[in-house]
């Protein structure tokens, strides 16, 4: 009697694909739906892990969009500290699909984020990207001027996009109760202050993440009908949760939701591909070796493994080392790590 499993390849079976696989060899985890053409213009955004995606693509001479730049003779670490050289524009980490959609809508003037300027010690911060000017600006007017300029750059980046790469990072976010505006950090972490009358905790469901991205995709298709998408889920666990759950349970809930959203997108749209960075790093095969001692930050070896697999699957090779100056994914350019300061 024939079985549907009878003629499946080795990669379909746990024993041969994982159990007996060498510990440092994740195997044939990724087969892209289509090959990235290095001549295509790529927009990258997402959580801190997304910085590595952009870095690896740049290193492979892919045309990664970068609309806000600093002079070439400044060091990478200097540029990265001020949010340059990380993503398609200087928007910092975008942890949730809701924030990505909100940014795209803001570029068309469709929405205007509520409480968009936060104050801290007489300095003023763009609430949607408080980390890019670590010491804030002198006046609210300057924040508005810089925001207007930034939105023009984001719009320019979106207009040029042929491949949209997004790394889903979190489901937990904080939203303005009346408007639904979400923020990349909780008010009071980098700037501003938390007022429970104004803000509330929001934990996006898998369906909400899926719908957000469907809306993002629709916008991009309006701009570029042939636009393609690569989605991935950051393997970096939550620094802290406001859900009331144990942080490990909350992480599983969050990552499972994001992973499910990606699966729904891939199932529905031919032009959406999923890159399994989450699986590569958290694989049972790796037994946790790709996490640092804090069991959260991904090691350089882990990042290299994931990114090399991505490049290789797309027939791309690194021509230079142009990834961000970070070896420790949970460190320098991730605002959420600041939440550790609140740990008792």
């Amino acid at each position: 009697m024939d079985s549907p499993y009878q003629n499946l390849p080795r990669r379909a079976f746990w024993r041969t694909a994982v159990g007996e696989q060498a510990a440092d060899d994740p195997g044939d985890l990724y087969r892209p739906r289509w090959k990235l053409d290095p001549q295509e213009r790529v927009f990258t955004a997402g959580s801190c892990f997304a910085q590595h995606v952009g870095g690896a693509l740049r290193a492979a001479n892919v045309r990664v969009i970068d609309t806000e730049v600093l002079p070439f003779n400044l060091s990478k670490s200097f540029k990265n500290t001020y949010g340059y050289g990380l993503f398609a524009a200087r928007f910092g980490n975008i942890y949730t699909s809701r924030q990505m959609l909100q940014l795209i809508r803001e570029t068309t003037g469709e929405i205007s984020p509520a409480l968009s300027i936060w104050e801290q010690d007489d300095r003023f911060f763009d609430a949607q990207r408080p980390s890019v000017e670590p010491r804030g600006l002198e006046t609210p007017e300057q924040v508005r001027t810089h925001r207007e300029f930034h939105l023009r750059c984001v719009k320019d980046a979106l207009d040029r996009t042929q491949v949209f790469v997004f790394t889903f990072g979190l489901t937990e976010t904080w939203e303005h109760i009346d408007s639904g505006t979400v923020y990349p950090t909780a008010p009071g972490v980098l700037a501003g202050h938390f007022d429970p009358e104004l803000f509330q905790f929001k934990n996006l469901s898998a369906v909400e993440c899926y719908r957000d991205f469907v809306a993002i995709r629709a916008r991009m298709k309006e701009l570029k009908p042939k636009c393609k998408f690569i989605v991935t889920v950051s393997p970096v666990p939550l620094t802290a949760t406001a859900s009331g759950e144990h942080v490990e349970v909350a992480t599983a809930r969050s990552k499972a939701s994001l992973r499910a959203a990606c699966a729904m997108l891939v199932d529905e749209f031919e032009d959406v591909d999923y890159f399994p960075s989450y699986e590569i790093i958290t694989s049972a095969n790796s037994k946790g070796v790709y996490f640092e001692e804090n069991k959260r930050s991904v090691t350089k070896a882990g990042v290299d493994l994931a990114m090399n697999m991505f490049l290789s699957a797309h027939d791309l090779t690194r021509q230079s080392e142009t990834s961000p100056d970070i070896h420790n994914v949970g460190a320098e350019f991730c605002e959420d790590v600041l939440l550790e300061a609140f740990a008792q």
Binding site: E68, P71, Y82, E138, T145, H146
Partner: protein, 270 residues
């Protein structure tokens, strides 16, 4: 007798021309040159034994030959001199001008630029540009043994405003000359302080050579000559200075030497 070694790029031509005019009046000073125009100067290296110049394998034969033609030798020992004067040292000014051209900057300059900077970030970039001007470890070590004085590449002469591709950059940067000059002053102050920390002295561009807009007055650029064969630079050259400029530099250096000269440890030991 004070022995001074002048090193550097084609900008040292101004000093060479000035010294030809001045050496009769300065019998207690001896000036030697080991200079090379760009890009060949990048093949001059400082070695651990304080030898400086073009040596194989780090230098190619062309640079070695050129050094022999211009200087009559390939290398010198810095220990033989009371002072080393590095002329045409890497300057952050051109980077500043490009920055002001390409960026609108809060509280500094508003124009139709492709990019925008906050004032804090602008200030941080200036500090980075200054930090990029600190010599490498070998030179910092050398400065502990021999007195090292540097003079940055001069600021472009006003002549460059007549050249379309340069005109826009400089016009924008110098549109508010008060701010431009203030920025230059702050950068130089910072650079001098950083270099002084490493025992390196600076001869700044003489004030009398600067025009109202902060650029070099044309009169100090016309008639500049090349290191090779004393040929004149092209008429439109705006980056090289003439003997009048070189004379002011040497006078400033001699004042420095007279007032701050210390017996060099190597000299004392020799």
């Amino acid at each position: 007798m004070k022995r001074i070694l002048v090193i550097g790029s084609s900008h040292a031509g101004a000093v060479k021309a000035a010294w030809d005019e001045m050496k009769q009046e300065n019998s207690t000073i001896e000036l030697d040159f080991l200079v090379l125009p760009w890009p060949h100067l990048s093949e001059f290296h400082l070695y651990e034994d304080m030898t400086y110049g073009a040596k194989a394998p780090l230098a190619g034969q062309k640079a070695i030959d050129l050094s022999n033609t211009i200087n009559g030798r390939e290398t010198v020992s810095l220990t033989e001199y009371d002072l080393v004067f590095w002329v045409g040292y890497h300057s952050p000014v051109d980077a500043l001008v490009r920055l002001m051209h390409n960026y609108a900057i809060d509280d500094v300059i508003e124009h139709d630029a492709p990019q925008r900077l906050s004032f804090i970030l602008f200030r941080e970039i200036l500090m980075e540009l200054v930090n990029n001007c600190i010599p490498n470890r070998m030179w910092l070590d050398a400065a502990k043994q021999t007195k090292l004085v540097i003079h940055l590449c001069p600021i472009a002469a006003e002549t460059c405003l007549a050249i379309p591709q340069n005109k826009k950059n400089w016009r924008i940067a110098t549109a508010n000359s008060r701010i431009f000059k203030r920025i230059l002053e702050l950068m130089m102050k910072r650079l001098s302080a950083r270099l002084a920390h490493h025992n390196i002295d600076v001869v700044e561009q003489p004030q009398e050579t600067l025009a109202e807009n902060g650029m070099t007055k044309t009169e100090f650029s016309v008639g500049s000559i090349r290191l090779m064969n004393a040929e004149a630079h092209p008429e439109k050259d705006f980056s090289h200075m003439n003997s009048a400029y070189g004379r002011l530099l040497l006078n400033a250096l001699f004042v420095k030497l007279g007032t701050t000269d210390k017996e060099s440890p190597n000299r004392a030991a020799s």
